[in-house]
Subunit: 340 residues, 2 copies
DNA sequence: GTCGTCCGTGAATACGTATGCACGTATTCG
DNA sequence: CGAATACGTGCATACGTATTCACGGACGAC
C-alpha cells in the first residue's frame, strides 16, 4: 500500500498538517518534531502524491507543447528534437515536466490545446510559430491562460521569444556580398511563414543598401522540394551566383541539384543557409549557415512561461529577440578570380 | 470561476452523483434527467478536471518516456522525433498523453524515472533500449509497475517489443553477397549496445553460411565518429569491398571518408545501413538501408503498455518482434565487372 | 393486501494534500 | 503581575470526482 502523510504523522506522533508543513519548509515547526518527521519520511521512503498536490494546489507542474505533424515531416526534422531536449532540460530545473502532443493538422491542433488546458492538465503552453491569425491566441488571451509564443506572433501583443530573423538574413546576405557575390537570390518557404518573410525582409534590406537587385523564389520545406524547386533557378541563363536558403535541409537539396548540374560550390554558386545544424557538415567543404541560437531561444521561452505561471511577471506582454552568429564554411568562400 | 459537476447538478436540478453517472455512461439514469444534464453540460461548456479525476481514479492518463541525452547528440537524431511522433499518435487515440523527460546521463535517467513513478505522475513507462543490467528493470518489476521495453531486454523476462535486428543484418549482408561483394565488413557501435550486437550476430551468420571471413570494427555513434573510425579501415591494403554500417548517420560518415579517399560508391565500396531515414537520399545515388518499421514498433509498444495499464493483459511477459525490409539504393549496386 | 425484489437517486464519503482557524503555551511589556 | 503578543500545533475543511450505501417507491408474486 502507498505511504501517505497520514502514515508519516502516525509514526512520528504528530498531525498530518505538521508533516505537510515540514515538507513545505515551514519555519515554524519545532526542531525535534521536524527531525522526527524527516527521519520517518526517510525510513518509509515517502514521496508526495502529485495527483493530490495538483488538485489541492491547482497546479499540475506540467507544461504543454503541441507540434504539427505534416505528413511524417516531423519525423526527420532535427529542430523538434533540439526543441524538446532543451525544453525538458529547463523545465526540470524548475520541477516542471513536459506534456507533449502531436496533432495531425492545424484544426486538430487547436482541439488538442483546448483539451489540455480546459481539463486543467497543464499549467501553461508553449506555442511554436503559430499561424498569423490563429484563433488559439485570442482564446488563450481571453482566458488569461499562461502561454508563450516561440516565433513572431505578428498580430496582437503577447509574450513571445523569437530569433532575430531579419538580422540573420542581413548577416547572411552581407557575408555573400563581402565575398564578392552580386547576383544573390533568396530561396524561401511557402507564403505566410513568418520566419521566411522576416528573412526575406533582411535580405532585401542588404541588397538595397548595395544597389543590387533582389530575386526571391519559394519552395516547400524539405530536402526534396528544395532540390526540385532550385533546378529551374540554377539551370537558366541568368542564374544567380549565390543563394540565401531558408534552412539547412533545403540548402542540402540545392547543393545536390547544383552538383547534378555540374556547378561547383562555392566556385559557381555561393550558398548560405540558417540553423547551423549538423547537416551542414555532410556536404564536402561544408555549408555556411547562420546559427540561430536555438538553445537560448528555447531556454528563454521556458523561463518566461514559468514566470508567467508563477505570477512573477506583470501581465505586460514582452517580446524577447535572440541574437545569432554566422558559421562560415566552404559553401560561401570567395570564388576564384574575384579580387578582394 | 471554473464549472464543476456541482454547478451542473444545481442547474439541472439533480445531484452531483447523477452528473458523474451520466458522464460515465451509466445506463441506470432516467432519460429525462440524463437529457437535462447533457444539455446543461453543453451549454455551460463543462469539462471534467483531470486533476480531480486522477486523484479519485488513481490514474493520471499519462505515460512516461525518458530519453538519454548524450552531449546534445539527441539534437540531430531523427529517431527520437519519429519515436515521439508515433507514441503520441497512438496514445491520443486511447486518451492518454505523453509525459516526456530528457536526462543527461544514465544515472539521472534512473532518478527521473523514479520520480515519475513514485510520485504517481504517470501510469506507465516506455523504456527505450535500456542497458543490459539496468537496475530500473528489476525495481519496476518488483513494484509491479506497468512498463514496456523497446529493444532487447536480454536478461529477465518482461514485456518488450523489438526490431528483428538479426534478420535485418542477415538481409543486409545477404544483399551484398548476392551483388558480388565478398570482403564484407561490419562497422558497429560501442560494446554493450544490444542493437549493434544483434546485428553483428546476423552478419556473422550469413558470412559463415557463405564461407566468408567476418571482420567487425566499432565506432561511436554519429556522423563524425564513424567518418573518423572508417578512415584507417578504408585506407589500408586489404580494405573491405563492402561495409554493413550500424545506422544511416554513421553510413553518411563512411560515405564521406570514402569520397575523400577517392573511393567510388558502389564501385569501390558497397554500403548498406539501417533505419532507412531520409538521410539516405542525401548522398548521390542514395544509400541502401534496411527499413526497420519504426512506426509499427512504436505502435505495438504503446498498445501493449496501455493493455498492461488497464489490466487487459495477464502478467505473462510477452516479446514481440517486428519485421523489416530492404530499401535498395545506389550504394550497394553490383560493382562493374562482376558477373552475375 | 402484504411482503420481497429491484431500481433510480441523493447523501455521504474517500482519494491525499494544503491551509484557515482556534486553542494553548511561552514570552514580552507596561 | 496581569495583559497582550507571538508562536507552535492540531482540527477541520476544501479541492472535484467516483462510488458506496441507504432510502423510497414501483412492481410482481402469492
Amino acid at each position: 500500500m502507498r505511504v501517505t502523510q497520514q502514515d508519516i504523522a502516525r509514526l512520528a506522533d504528530v498531525s498530518q498538517a505538521t508533516v505537510s508543513r515540514v515538507l513545505a519548509g515551514d519555519a515554524r515547526v519545532e526542531d525535534d518534531k521536524r527531525d522526527r518527521v524527516l527521519r520517518v519520511i526517510k525510513q518509509s521512503n515517502y514521496r508526495p502524491d502529485v495527483r493530490a498536490q495538483a488538485l489541492r494546489r491547482r497546479r499540475t507542474s506540467l507544461v504543454g507543447l503541441v507540434l504539427k505533424r505534416p505528413d511524417g515531416g516531423l519525423k526527420d526534422d532535427p529542430f523538434y528534437s533540439a526543441l524538446i531536449s532543451e525544453i525538458t532540460a529547463v523545465l526540470s530545473k524548475s520541477h516542471y515536466h513536459l506534456c507533449l502532443d502531436v496533432a495531425a493538422d492545424s484544426s486538430s491542433q487547436t482541439g488538442v490545446y483546448d483539451e489540455l488546458l480546459r481539463t486543467r492538465r497543464v499549467d501553461g503552453l508553449i506555442l511554436v510559430e503559430p499561424e498569423t491569425e490563429d484563433q488559439r491566441l485570442h482564446k488563450l488571451q481571453d482566458d488569461r491562460f499562461p502561454f508563450v509564443v516561440i516565433g513572431n506572433p505578428r498580430t496582437s501583443v503577447m509574450h513571445s521569444v523569437d530569433n532575430d530573423n531579419v538580422l540573420a538574413a542581413r548577416i547572411a546576405t552581407q557575408h555573400l556580398v563581402e565575398n564578392g557575390y552580386r547576383r544573390i537570390g533568396f530561396l524561401g518557404g511557402p507564403a505566410g511563414v513568418a520566419v521566411s518573410e522576416d528573412r526575406v525582409t533582411g535580405y532585401r534590406m542588404v541588397m538595397a543598401e548595395h544597389g543590387l537587385t533582389p530575386r526571391v523564389w519559394t519552395s516547400d520545406f524539405g530536402f526534396a522540394s528544395a532540390s526540385a524547386a532550385s533546378r529551374p533557378v540554377l539551370d537558366s541563363a541568368d542564374r544567380p551566383d549565390a543563394l540565401v536558403v531558408l534552412d539547412d535541409f533545403m540548402a542540402m537539396g540545392v547543393a545536390r541539384t547544383a552538383r547534378q548540374l555540374g556547378l561547383a560550390l562555392p566556385g559557381d554558386l555561393g550558398l548560405v543557409s540558417f540553423n547551423d545544424s549538423s547537416l551542414c557538415e555532410l556536404v564536402d567543404g561544408g555549408i555556411t549557415s547562420v546559427n540561430m541560437n536555438f538553445e537560448q531561444l528555447v531556454q528563454e521561452s521556458c523561463r518566461k512561461l514559468i514566470q508567467i505561471i508563477e505570477s512573477k511577471v506583470p501581465p505586460v506582454p514582452s517580446r524577447l529577440v535572440i541574437p545569432c552568429a554566422l558559421m562560415s564554411r566552404g559553401s560561401s568562400r570567395r570564388p576564384l578570380g574575384v579580387a578582394r
